[in-house]
Symmetry: C2
Subunit: 553 residues, 2 copies
Amino acid sequence: MQAKAQPDPRWTRRRTEKQRRLAQVREFADGAVLRTGSIVEVLERLIGPGDRVVLEGNNQKQADFLARALARVDPERVHGINLIMPSVSLPEHLDLFERGIARRLDFAYAGGQSLRISQFLQDGLLEVGAIHTYIELYARLFVDLIPKVVLVAGYTADRQGNLYTGPSTEDTPTLVEAAAFHDGIVIAQVNEIVDDAGELPRVDIPGAWIDFVVQADKPFFIEPLFTRDPRLITPMQVLMAMMAIRGVYERHQVQSLNHGIGFNTAAIELILPTYGERLGLKGKICRNWTLNPHPTLIPAIESGWVESVHCFGGELGMEDYVAARPDVFFTGRDGSMRSNRALCQLAGQYAVDLFIGSTLQMDGLGNSSTVTRGRLTGFGGAPNMGHDPRGRRHPTPAWLDLIETDDPLARGHKLVVQIVETFQAGGKPCIVESLDAVDVGKGSGMPLAPVMIYGDDVTHVLTEEGIAYLYKARSVEERKAMIAAVSGVTPIGLTHDPRRTEALRRGGLVALPEDLGVHRAEATRSLLAAKSVADLVAWSGGLYNPPAKFRSW
Amino acid sequence: MQAKAQPDPRWTRRRTEKQRRLAQVREFADGAVLRTGSIVEVLERLIGPGDRVVLEGNNQKQADFLARALARVDPERVHGINLIMPSVSLPEHLDLFERGIARRLDFAYAGGQSLRISQFLQDGLLEVGAIHTYIELYARLFVDLIPKVVLVAGYTADRQGNLYTGPSTEDTPTLVEAAAFHDGIVIAQVNEIVDDAGELPRVDIPGAWIDFVVQADKPFFIEPLFTRDPRLITPMQVLMAMMAIRGVYERHQVQSLNHGIGFNTAAIELILPTYGERLGLKGKICRNWTLNPHPTLIPAIESGWVESVHCFGGELGMEDYVAARPDVFFTGRDGSMRSNRALCQLAGQYAVDLFIGSTLQMDGLGNSSTVTRGRLTGFGGAPNMGHDPRGRRHPTPAWLDLIETDDPLARGHKLVVQIVETFQAGGKPCIVESLDAVDVGKGSGMPLAPVMIYGDDVTHVLTEEGIAYLYKARSVEERKAMIAAVSGVTPIGLTHDPRRTEALRRGGLVALPEDLGVHRAEATRSLLAAKSVADLVAWSGGLYNPPAKFRSW
């Protein structure tokens, strides 16, 4: 396996440089274990100016100790780095730019920091390399964004660097692989260090992939992003959920799927055991999921609807419940969940029938974006899940059902459903004439507007008014008319011609609730299998342990 | 992390069943190590009728010892399994169906066994679940094809099951993860078992993910699929390579790419250091690759063209060369290569500017397939790499260069290039009126024709006649005319109207060699930086060690 001779040094520059840097921090380490208090000095010695540095910030799990330490390095020594982050969410992430430590940002999602990114961009403190969808960003780590240093987080390590990442494995294995196998440097912060692998619940990442582990000053930050309190679900969302089940899931026999994060899709999850059950759909739809462990899925799981759930990441409070349902969830030998965002995004792209999600703005052609004026939020997983994967070749009933021609070279289509209320809270229309993203793109000097999901990938638009079956549209003009027909009294909706809408209904291109056998009068909160977080806890037999902010009892 | 109480047995059926099966084979194992001679009996006890079983057969590496053992189980005990294989390539794989042990096949590629699959399908011995592209098949392992048993191959294991997969990591981590984290059973055959992890070159897969390791009766079979002997490259292929460089790579500034397996693309690799160098393109194009370690890439690497190569799998004979060029290739701490087909397919999908590959048949709209009458070959990675990834959001010069509108909501496009000689050896046209795949699909009862790459994903068709810039076509009719213009004297080519072709040339929709500044007279084998396998060995400084069948000196 090994080269016969010592490799020629002209071809081992990365390895030589890594060894040079590692030698400079040996004094702060006992084997693979770094002293916590030395971390700032260590980062100053391990990271060079202009380096590509991956800092693990996921949807949920944050390498926050390392982020804080990096924000404290001397900008005279470390500056101008190209920061690569799946999700930018802590103030420290932006402090890096304010202090000049980082200069260029490649990312996929920015939640709470989206305002500040916009501001820094305008102030010239920050350049955006690109906004990505998650797995596109991972993909580039092996091609044209190969990192020099990768900083990640895990629960527990042993003294050889073996890592237990537990329910929140998320992006860690993929980020680590990019550096571990190309002479990059990997540092993992952990909550606890044990003596040897036997004391770890399990090994998620082998120690030989990790250069250093360091015990963080406090457990890593993790946010319950996927918990939706059923008390906040409105009757209108119940109506939309009923339409989704009858007009999309039942009609196309949707067996595998991904749900977005909103209350609309939480409502769908919560009426499967009531409305779905009454329609006799159990076992016929919604069997295999790619989804974070949403607490609102508990009643459907307990009622026997769900065969499997593969997860991108974990969800705070769901650990014990997941561990007690290993037939449904992916778990390790130790019993705790294994999530894996790269594989779950792959599954959500190539292996599911349907993606359904919401957005902040959608235009009259179905293009949508969460990037609005002054906020550079990024896209997360939506572009990956919300498009038709044209490399897919295996058929399923739902995928085939979208074929509208008898061309023998036709192919099926993934169901990409935009579920939007025509107006946001506060009376701002969600369906608009032009996306803010178009102006933001121009204003930020981006080569293209930051569109999250493109209209030509969307197969269905579902609003409280009805469903537009966009995959049936025979022209762009018809597509526009179909969206207008379900856009209510938004500016786009007001352009619709009632006679045209009637014709679209007769042709099956648009359906109102009554066309689907959905009774508006039934659309009340009483259809929700759980009406509160306390109900979810009860459904779980006490296994779900909601974070304090969701406890109201 | 752990559930507070023992999980309810109604939700741990997979785990209970796994424990039951494991208990039945304890007598054949010493810890994680199975006795070689007991393997048939062990498989009979571990696999149940109708189980979903993944058998590792990759493009190159084969779990052949386990395949032979599986073919010898008693069909009274093990029958009707759903066999899941990335690549079906050994006679034993089909023997499983002949003996009734397997019934249903889900796969991505079948090389040497494609004839027999067709025959068995007709004879009713085999059902095809679906033909997939590789990562689509992996994706389903986490959704609706979750396996009960996974059988893989590695080089070396220790007695705890820690696995060294070395240069041929390929699909193994992904296949193992699907079972290891959902109470499936994992068995790895290895060439050698050592006492503990310290004796392994490195750990590629943690022991806790593997239930059993077993020493194979002989080292696993591996085939040098990506070695192309430069002696067989024709002047016509050199001409096409020159056109590719000038008319595609230079024109669109292609920086990251994947090459198919054919002689045409090998010719491109071999004229980069001569023709490409003379054009002053070094450093400007072809910097970052997703590619198996093609021996024909050696001269370009040695001449400083190649910044990085991430590999799907390894290539026999390239081990020492790769280990000596760690700045270019991904290697582990032990110095040997790390390949990873799942991540490399992801990289080849989302992170590269261009895919260029050949096919056996292409129709007048650019649809292509390697499935021809009597051969169900499958697709491998081509559908994944040969489509426009619509979830991509990051721009590169090449990707942006394909935008033909000033719509602010436009997006770029991946370059998908079909490089085909108009006729195959033997005078059969490659460009045909209708793909055999259409009839095969109908004849085999498939819901859709098995198309490898769809014409609407193809941006360029390159033949010895010229290049059709299909992304510029304004209608299907124009697209057809453009393909006809470069289709020579095939039936499709004969439909072209010379005056129309002139107009297409003037409009920049079609280019002949002279339009690209490519001189036909220069297209000789003297442009090849290496003209034989011996030349490749010389370029490598003796590090490349070609398999015997490629040695002619």
